[in-house]
Symmetry: C2
Subunit: 287 residues, 2 copies
Amino acid sequence: MNLMPLVFDRFEHYVKNQAPKVASFHPHFEDALWEMVLNGGKRFRPQLLLSIVASYKPKMLEKAFAPALALEILHTYSLIHDDLPAMDDAPLRRGCQTLHTKYGETSAILAGDGLNTHAFYLLTKAKLKPKTKVKLIQCLSYNGGIYGMVLGQALDCYFEHQKLPLKQLRFIHLNKTAKLIAASLQMGGILADCDKKTRKSLYKLGLDLGLFFQIRDDIIDTTQSEQEAGKPTQQDTDKNSYVNLLGLEGAKKEAKNLSDSILTQFKTLNPKANKILNELLSHYFIF
Amino acid sequence: MNLMPLVFDRFEHYVKNQAPKVASFHPHFEDALWEMVLNGGKRFRPQLLLSIVASYKPKMLEKAFAPALALEILHTYSLIHDDLPAMDDAPLRRGCQTLHTKYGETSAILAGDGLNTHAFYLLTKAKLKPKTKVKLIQCLSYNGGIYGMVLGQALDCYFEHQKLPLKQLRFIHLNKTAKLIAASLQMGGILADCDKKTRKSLYKLGLDLGLFFQIRDDIIDTTQSEQEAGKPTQQDTDKNSYVNLLGLEGAKKEAKNLSDSILTQFKTLNPKANKILNELLSHYFIF
């Protein structure tokens, strides 16, 4: 029996109960702070982390919820800031008003800032050994900061109107998207006390997964209607995208190569991880 | 002989050599990232931290530089974001262009985000025991995040155009300014392995210091010219400020009470700390 949907349901329930109680004389900031965390999304990164823990050390699952939440709220802050007028200027996210549209730009910047910092506070409060906490904080701050996600986002914005060669586009996506996904798997590996070799394999797998998802998004943007994709499409026509650089067929071939490699990498993990990751991810590999 | 100026000089030299080497195909982000860290300021928070370490465990001074830098870059990110168009919309900071004026708003938001996260990365890399690192990260993320600085800033912005009672104004300043100053002294206490009672006293002293500096700033804004103060003054005339709430004499009395209490608290610390903190701070108590 596949227990992961139950674990993910429990995690979702956990998230709803973790809104921080901020002692203040006014609820405005507190409301803004947790709204985007509650307003769901797929919890893709926590699911990756929890899948690895469930595969390698299921008895750690309970203690993995706090780090999974830390990962999710770091991701959430990045979405709040990505949506800002100075970045994507997006009115909607997941079908709802973006945070700055509802609460104003100032509150959105500060809610993002607060969640960024709070991710690390949560990790210090987790029921884990200090050594494990430090490893998790290091992994998250490296991949989610200036050596990863923030660098990628900065380059992506800076070169928005300049055509880049494939190598540089890949560098941007590796940093902007793939490194936090790699960190999700690696944090799972840290929590499950996997050996160094497995943690390294998990990280490499996460980078490939991140790149795959980026190419897949570019393909979906070109080929699907807004209704099919569940989000606005045809947005990338003048952007740096794999489809624009490689053509649709070239991008599809690249995606196929990556998904083949990913499925092969699944098999190098333990049988349980192979099974759980296949169940979680392999439907993404058909499009 | 007073060795602290030498320590502070060494710290300044250290900061200049700590610009992170970000592997990228373009230097834009890296340039933006470290510019405000280099563009000085008084390094007030690191000086507080280093003063406590020098007083209670001088052999830890070398290892205290990384945490002192983490504290400074968290403070720096907050200045970068405070200056943004959606907040103070400031063209100048410390006599130089603000980061968003020079590099654009997008880069300034991201440089701030990156520095916020990087503060915690730096703490994980410090040459300290895991347990000490976790304590420092917890102290910084609690006081510099949604339970402290970010909450205070959010409330300050939200109530910018509403007159607040003294209790609420004090709550804002306690969070926005005082808690990070309290964290500076407490992080010093953690590094010097001070007992719980001393760490608590240091924290309380920091809160009072933070409030004192806020009232002092309000008084200077009212009484000094731009030339005397070294920064634009007469900015707070329609703002929530101690002078507007208590009148100039009332604010001066409040500042005097606080500085008296602070000097008394210095005396409860060890003689070296009393001496160093007096040398560092007592000239602020005359105005």
